[in-house]
Subunit: 412 residues, 2 copies
Amino acid sequence: MVSAPGQGDFRVGLLGHGTVGGAFATLLERRAGEIEATTGLRPRVAGVLTRSRGDFAQILADSDLIVEVMGGVDPAREHVLAAMAAGRHVVTANKQILSRHGEELWAAAREHGVQLRFEAAVAGVVPVIRVLQESLAAAHVERLHGIVNGTTNFILSEMARTGAPYATVLAEAQRLGYAESDPTEDVSGEDAAAKMAILARLAFATPVHLDQVRFEGIEHIAPDDLEYARELGLSLKLIGTAERVDGGLNVRVHPAFLYPGHPLASVNGPYNAVTVESPDITEITMSGPGAGGPQTASAVLGDVISAMIPPASTPEPTASLEVVQDVASAFYLHLEVADRPGVLAQVAQVLGMQGASIKSVVQKGLGEKARLVMVVHPLAESRFFAALELIARLEFVRARPRAIRVIEEEFT
Amino acid sequence: MVSAPGQGDFRVGLLGHGTVGGAFATLLERRAGEIEATTGLRPRVAGVLTRSRGDFAQILADSDLIVEVMGGVDPAREHVLAAMAAGRHVVTANKQILSRHGEELWAAAREHGVQLRFEAAVAGVVPVIRVLQESLAAAHVERLHGIVNGTTNFILSEMARTGAPYATVLAEAQRLGYAESDPTEDVSGEDAAAKMAILARLAFATPVHLDQVRFEGIEHIAPDDLEYARELGLSLKLIGTAERVDGGLNVRVHPAFLYPGHPLASVNGPYNAVTVESPDITEITMSGPGAGGPQTASAVLGDVISAMIPPASTPEPTASLEVVQDVASAFYLHLEVADRPGVLAQVAQVLGMQGASIKSVVQKGLGEKARLVMVVHPLAESRFFAALELIARLEFVRARPRAIRVIEEEFT
């Protein structure tokens, strides 16, 4: 993994080689060619520090940028401070140091004129840090709501879906790798509280320490509560809130019921999402996977690349994909037909000649109102439209057929 | 609006003073103090070019950065090129010049070493441009789905909600200001096609011209089709797609049915949303208001500030809001009670003494299973918890009461 120095190399010192660190090293190697095409520099891991191997001073000396994914306060904090003092940009995924020592770290970054990036510290690849720091730098934010812990969102989603009690679903989450063997930090709300402290600092330009964030967990939620939610069409989520209150700021984490129209109500499974409300923008919502080694590594890599390239540059095209026109789609097909036997069979035959097969069909109405409504399995659009031309000319088809594409992917 | 030069000013030349330009000038003035606190520079409009007044050469000479919100290809394209050749950063909201002349403009930005920012050109304040250019700069994007036209999403949402035909809903959209008096560009899908050309260029690093984007509009959608969608739980949206197909790229816009779990299925009204899929990140979704003068102006201002500040800097705190702990919440309250008359009245009385009033209540079960489940209107949490302590001690309450907050905001 540690390669020899070369021309045009961009040397990344990697502190930590657990799930995220390992995934980052793999991803960096896989994307090095594309990054070189875009930036002119080929990134490579110049050294790795773990608990058992590596020398921090040597890694620092050999690196252009430091990635810190070891977690915890010590020694991560000292390493990050030392790296910035030595003039290195730092990318970190560490919510602990930022929610407890953020002002010290940000002041050091300003003092030494380096970048401190931390997209991966909150909500994985959901780009909430960048959006708050840059897109919304001057928006007057009124409130921010977030689902910022994937473990608890998975547990609550499963409790709602299955009716099973907390302990059963927690055990399942542990088996699936969505919860740690000691789940306390997640299920107590403390993990979410650290993330909300960071988001509140950015959204309101006010120092916020983890100790100032009240939090409550999900351990006491009973199947009864979720049954009530289901009856009323509510969703139960572990919600982080940061909002202006009486000229001050309140930051908190607790379970809350949401009405169906709320942008966070439909966020299920191990996902994270954040809604930012401001009179300037109404509100925007961002959602995506909240954790996972590859996803977090991708957020770290986005920050590394941002530190490598000048802002707001649109690089020359690095790909020259052919723009193709004929793709495959599933289709809904709506036909007004004469009300008599054999009609469906003839339509199916024409479709079949073009390789189209019917997934589902409904016959509706009688006489003048007779309709055939069907969904056709995906096929090349050119073939579907060829079939459609033939169907339009069948003598029992009484009006121009209507076809609308169907996007069949299902998301959890 | 045009102020005198001063120390530490950042001079913005404004090309165009319609809905977006006017809202931008107002917003810039309102936020100038906060921006100065953050950046050390006070932004001000140094000159305005409209069809009837202003001199472009003079405005360019007097400006540090050019904001182009005039729209259309000519003369916007020449002005943007001239501004970049003169070494000015440019912020534009103009999808026309980017989807037709993007490569020329991006090459000019690279040649002259200036920033060309265009967040407002696609999906208003939804920060999809920044996220594709920066957060996902090295992600291998497989597919991008977008609802990138608010007019058509409003019309389809209203047709689904009311069952009314296209022409009726279009007229309503025009009355409400969601559709232009000549709605052709929106309802034909051409506006969305221009935006998809821009997104596809960024996501796939391949030149994409508007002419390469197939588009179909919503004019032919009938109430029947939406009735079918409702029966099957599907949503009908005008969807832009850019995806890798057979080693090439396909970019298209057409109406499509979505299954309920799809991240775009619940995006209703004049909203925009984009989902980016990549094996690196699974997928992320961003949503928010797609248009509107103030919202678009906010996106333009975000770009202007980004051009003013160094990347990834977390400025010193500019606010020192007090972090307050006691806020108001609505509560769900679940009580296991003895099954006898008068119980609800006593609970209501205790709540009332703390100023809590009951919004709704359900009595469930009999005997051992008797439950009172209620929602209490918002009140200070300290008062609610004081009431809860008293309720827990009532002799007919048979288990620890359970309380969960309710977030009552409703979104459209």
